[in-house]
């Protein structure tokens, strides 16, 4: 495969996309897991399908459509939830299904042959285009800068939002920025694992890294490394077998999580045995 990387542009694009996707998923997945935003992420991702469908109907880049619908979903869910407290699940479900329904309708209304939507639903890192890469690069830089530059504020906000409000920080602005970052991340990852599987890359790396460290910045770094490992392994297997890269990436991720969890349990048990033995 190494020689093929130098030979084929689509493989070079796929590897560059893997690095960018790993960075954003590493940073944001930790936040998603700690803030318990996994379902919210699912809602945003699925709503973006409406944007993909609209782009086919009107005739512009699908990733731009996904981007616009993701941002609208993130801010829309937050706005309605703030106005009508206690119905977050219902609002997420409505956006989730409405986005998918709009996507199906727009694709159905598109004249001519039905477009290839498979790669947006289930991802295909091998089909990433130059335009996708440019947009992914811009969005990745935005996510990294916003998180790294204001890291201490994010840490305080994520730990205890009420207290940051007591400090009179602009918590609503921070929350909305966080949701926009989440929407951006979903867009970066759509070409890699697809709308339906994006939740996996936004939860499994963070869950796996949480088994190994209790420090926030290390969790983000480990999470990015796990994400890179999942994507590159998935890409490699997909290249060899011709199976869907998105599905394999998710599969590799979940197997890794189970293995790390099992290793951790074994190491804890062996430590207990050693302590017991040393105590006689």
């Amino acid at each position: 495969m190494i020689s093929a990387i130098f030979e084929y542009q689509f493989l070079q694009y796929a590897i560059i996309a893997a690095f960018m996707a790993s960075i954003v998923s590493g940073l944001i997945s930790v936040i998603i897991v700690e803030k318990k935003l996994v379902m919210m992420t699912g809602g945003i991702a699925h709503t973006s399908y409406g944007g993909v469908g609209l782009s086919f109907l009107v005739g512009f880049q699908p990733i731009i459509g996904a981007f616009l619908f993701s941002i609208l979903a993130a801010l829309g869910i937050s706005f309605i939830n703030n106005k009508l407290t206690g119905i977050k699940d219902i609002v997420i479900a409505m956006f989730w299904s409405l986005g998918m329904a709009l996507g199906v309708l727009f694709v159905g209304m598109t004249p001519g042959y039905p477009p290839n939507i498979q790669s947006y639903l289930f991802g295909n890192i091998l089909s990433v285009t130059g335009f996708d890469l440019i947009l992914m690069a811009v969005l990745t830089v935005i996510v990294v800068l916003v998180i790294v530059i204001f890291f201490q504020d994010w840490k305080a906000h994520l730990f205890d939002q009420e207290f940051t409000k007591v400090l009179r920080k602009k918590t609503t602005v921070m929350e909305n920025i966080l949701l926009v970052l989440l929407a951006i991340t979903v867009v970066v990852l759509i070409r890699v694992v697809g709308i339906i599987l994006v939740i996996a890359l936004l939860s499994v790396p963070a869950a796996t890294s949480s088994l190994l460290t209790s420090k926030l910045h290390l969790r983000m770094i480990y999470s990015a490394l796990f994400s890179l490992f999942f994507i590159l392994t998935g890409l490699f297997i997909s290249y060899l077998t011709d199976y869907s890269s998105g599905a394999i990436i998710v599969f590799v991720g979940i197997i890794t999580y189970v293995l790390v969890w099992w290793a951790k349990i074994r190491s804890a048990k062996s430590m207990i045995r050693k302590v017991r033995a040393s105590n006689g």
């Binding site: 204001f150 730990f159 205890d160 009420e162 007591v166 920080k169 921070m174 209790s214 420090k215």
Partner: protein, 239 residues
Amino acid sequence: MSEELIRLENVSCMYGKISALKNLNLTINKGDYIGIIGPNGSGKSTLIKSILGLVKLSEGQIYYLDQVNCKKKLKMGYVPQISDVNRYFPISVLEVVLTGKMDSSIKPFFKYSKKDILDAHRMLSMVGLENQKDRQISELSGGEFQKMMIARSLIMNPDILLLDEPTAMVDVLSQRQILNLIRQLSKEITIILVTHQIQDVMKHVSKLVYLEKNVIAEGDPEEVYKYAYLKPVGKRRKA
């Protein structure tokens, strides 16, 4: 006459259609150590959160140093209920205490100063956690966690400290340590304490407030306690 810090006038709060506070009036003076008691759902936490500006008032006004809705005139420390905070968040004890040194601005590449770190050590030492500064909060007991949260509030050098059931989900020994610590602090800081440990704090608070969406009784702790818990419900009159 004591200086008035906070005055709540006809304050009402709603969660959707549910009323949490109704026409509540209360004055908090400098140096007060006020215990807030009442049954579950009586609005104790909402009262604290309304003072802190964490919930919107549906009616009424709150005056801070005699200025309406001007929270920034007072430095308010807050210790939330343990269940309101993510106890497993990946952050160290020292880092949590240091967050009390933050202000309202969001600064790029923010770093705590050496003085901030020294202050944090001093606060941790005051609450008896000087050896725990590098531990992750997930490793702390309930009592240690709440002491850390008190240290975070104290580092703000607050004019008033509001504590929402700081002894809930804490073992008996830690409960005593925390209540002793609060009693010591009450000599220097105005304190509002929401608690179910009525018997333990009754001797120390300067005023007890019994709440059932509004102030049913306030004043001398013994009198309020007798009124709230020893009189048959049917014979209660507003005290």
